[in-house]
């Protein structure tokens, strides 16, 4: 059978394509590398969610090679199997959107024209997007409605233009710390606003409202409230009868006909046997690193450098999210009994953010430049993760009664509240994806070798924002306030590698996310982004995929 659309991957970049094209009556086949967990399969089990490789591949079967800069300025490579540092995010139907925390900030108009707005920075490869915020805005609104975004719009200095007055779902319940943040911010003339979340606060089409489980990020949602591509879009697509999902299907090669048209997706099935799917249009959304890897692996005489890569741009200019984290502690002894009980309340959210310095116009700091976002969050409830951080002090192992006291005090006498800083990860020549020449996966294919070089400018901006956030925490009387801004990578925040643009020599995709060089190949995960903005990517990936879906519906009429 020849399908209308073959989609590789099923996460945020794939979900809107699957949803919209299935509903439009097209026959859609989805090849998902991971298994198919349903909402009823998800429980709150730290063992399954974080201690074992249940939602990610076993590293001895599938690994990455990471190339990082050391203090001596040189780059060194190490496989993740060797280091034990997993670079996967969630391989399953719905992709890593199953396991996201779902902070859904839109990009701002300036994010679409970073280069022309702020000028070049030496050593960085910024590029303007070939579309504007106005082109994307209707699709942000669509995501808010279809996927479901909760919150309340509050005007602030960098609030992006909106076609709708407010979010479709009321805000989620909040911890008392949110109120304290509001009060502290007012004293400092610090502008904060409620964070929108891709989590519904009221039931919607077979999905239940959030029930405040206390275990959200890294965990599959047991109510369907979290707007994963699986719960919010793919389940709806399946109801049309036009959508077929093949889980445990690892695509390793896209085959062309010699005339610039993809005709087959070749994949390994659950048993490791080679299979193929024929379709009229192919959409790749395997998450940025793996998408570049697949195109680079899909070499043939027509595309000797990889599919759609005669420009040599595939895998270039990968971006992550710049910034870092900070924290402060509140001790229950410093509170009234009632305040302490309310602070301890599990499950409810902080949901506060600041974009006061989304653009920094501070002569004391330097010329006007792009800033970023501060999100205020609770420490994750994972017990093991918290305890592991307590077993060392200044590099020395702590154990015995000293360790037990330390753990008991940490869990029973205080709460740690955190802030996360998001700034642009400037694209640069040292951040890219290649095929590793030596290490292969369990099928014998080369694994992705990911260069993780960052630009020093990102750290400068990150530290500026961290100082602001630290000041707010100190204003609240919090103890042990600190922050860490670095070039360390969050593997769940990845984009770029197949940037879109108008010039086929400097970009992989056109403005509709179709390959410049291939007639029927689209890429709809975060790969298209020439720059990433200063917020997490999922909301924009969803919105762009809805935008491309509209284009595809027109094209396939």
């Amino acid at each position: 059978m020849k399908y209308d659309i073959c989609v590789v991957g099923s996460g945020a970049g794939a979900g809107p394509i699957i949803y919209e094209l299935s509903k439009a009556g097209h026959k859609v086949i989805v090849l998902e590398k991971g298994p198919w967990f349903k909402t009823e399969d998800f429980a709150k089990d730290e063992m399954v969610a974080t201690r074992k490789s249940v939602y990610t591949p076993d590293l001895k079967d599938e690994q990455h090679v990471l190339v990082q800069k050391k203090d001596n300025g040189k780059y060194y490579s190490q496989s993740t199997y060797s280091s034990g540092k997993d670079f996967w995010n969630g391989n399953a139907v719905g992709g890593s959107s199953n396991f996201m925390s779902a902070y859904f900030h839109r990009l701002k108009p300036v994010d679409f024209r970073l280069l022309s707005e702020y000028g070049p920075i030496e050593g960085a490869n910024q590029a303007d997007w070939p579309i504007s915020y106005d082109d994307m805005e209707p699709y942000y609104a669509k995501v808010e409605e279809v996927v479901g975004v909760s919150g309340v719009v509050k005007n602030h200095k960098h609030l992006e233009p909106r076609s709708t007055a407010d979010f479709p779902y009321p805000p989620l319940s909040e911890n008392i710390f949110s109120r304290w943040l509001d009060e502290g911010a007012e004293k400092l003339n610090f502008e904060i606003f409620p964070s929108p979340r891709g989590i519904i606060s009221q039931p919607k089409e077979g999905r239940n409202a959030c029930y405040y489980s206390n275990f959200c990020g890294s965990y599959g949602c047991s109510s369907g409230a979290k707007g994963s591509a699986r719960a919010a879009l793919i389940n709806q697509a399946l109801e049309t009868g036009n959508c077929t999902i093949i889980p445990n299907a690892k695509v390793y090669h896209l085959e062309t006909d010699g005339n610039g048209t993809v005709v087959k997706a070749n994949y390994y099935d659950h048993s490791g046997a080679k299979q193929s799917i024929e379709a009229g249009t192919f959409v790749v959304a395997a998450q940025a690193v793996e998408t570049s890897r697949l195109l680079l692996m899909s070499k043939n005489p027509e595309f000797p450098n990889g599919l759609g890569n005669n420009s040599g741009q595939v895998g270039k200019n990968i971006v992550f999210s710049g910034g870092g984290v900070g924290a402060g502690q509140i001790y229950f002894d410093d509170l009234t009994e009632e305040e302490a009980q309310r602070l301890k309340q599990p499950g409810v959210f902080i949901n506060r953010a600041s974009q006061q310095w989304y653009e920094i116009d501070d002569p004391a700091f330097g010329p006007r430049m792009k800033g970023g976002t501060i999100d205020f969050v609770t420490e994750h409830a994972n017990g093991v993760t918290k305890a592991v951080k307590l077993k060392k002090s200044h590099g020395n192992l702590i154990y015995g009664s000293e360790l037990k006291s330390r753990i008991h005090d940490y869990f029973t006498k205080q709460r740690k509240l955190k802030f996360e800083i998001f700034v642009d990860w400037l694209p640069n020549d040292n951040c890219c994806v290649e095929l590793d020449p030596e290490i292969t996966d369990k099928w014998g294919d080369p694994v992705a070798k990911v260069w993780l070089g960052h630009h020093e400018h990102d750290l400068k901006v990150g530290k500026y924002l961290a100082e602001k956030a630290e000041a707010l925490f100190k204003q609240l009387g919090m103890k042990n306030v600190n922050s860490s801004i670095s070039g360390a990578v969050s593997s769940n925040l990845q984009a770029g590698g197949c940037r879109f643009g108008n010039d086929p020599k400097t970009s992989v995709l056109d403005k509709n996310c179709k390959s410049h060089e291939v007639n029927n190949l689209y890429v709809t995960d975060g790969s298209f982004m020439p720059t990433g903005g200063s917020v997490t990517y999922t909301f924009t990936i969803y919105a762009n995929s809805f935008r491309v879906a509209d284009h595809l519906k027109e094209r396939l009429k």
Partner: protein, 196 residues
């Protein structure tokens, strides 16, 4: 249940003696009181009895029953160690690391003290662990054991650790709901992972 175990374990010790494990005889005599105090599961594969008693004793030093909440023995961290190294999905390199360093600790204890680790006095055990916590070959291993103890402190009691949620109660830890059903527990959940 405890009586059944005691009988079973006594029989095991008898078998060792009768089977002529001659080198073990002095050890059995010298540590008889200690052995009586340590509940040995029926199946301790792939560990020898000696290794099992050592891991039990090391974990007891790392996370003692000191009156401040449960220790490793109440949490059944030793069972968890066995479960972990018997997990066919567990990384083979990490498994070898855990077992090889355990064997090395036993050998070093014999070399330095002329005795098995679990036969040393509590003070000697504490001194030796303090030394090992700063020694290159062993500090990573001890750190890894602590992580296993933490897992036995925080994961669901259905994994046969953290009995009666003693770890959660001690730390006022809210585990999140729904708790896993038997079908959702690791490694059963992996069946779902491989479902076609």
């Amino acid at each position: 249940m405890d009586n059944e175990w005691t009988n079973s374990r006594r029989n095991f010790v008898k078998t060792l003696i009768l089977s002529g494990v001659s080198l073990q005889l002095p050890w059995i005599q010298s540590c008889s009181q200690k052995v009586q105090d340590i509940p040995v599961p029926d199946n301790i594969e792939p560990l020898s009895l000696n290794s099992f008693l050592t891991i039990y004793s090391v974990m007891d030093i790392l996370f003692p029953d000191d009156g401040n909440g449960p220790g490793a023995k109440q949490l059944k961290s030793d069972h968890y160690f066995l479960w972990t190294v018997n997990d066919p999905n567990f990384d083979p390199d990490t498994r070898s690391f855990l077992l090889n360093k355990l064997e090395k600790l036993n050998k070093e204890s014999l070399r330095i003290y002329g005795d098995n680790f679990h036969d040393l006095s509590r003070a000697q055990q504490e001194d030796y662990i303090a030394e090992l916590s700063e020694t290159d070959w062993s500090k990573g291993w001890l750190s890894r054991l602590l992580t296993l103890i933490f897992e036995s402190l925080f994961v669901d009691p259905q994994y046969n650790v953290n009995p009666d949620t003693i770890g959660w109660k001690w730390l006022n830890h809210f585990p999140g709901y729904p708790r896993p059903t038997t079908q959702q527990l690791y490694p059963t959940i992996l069946n779902k992972k491989h479902e076609v």
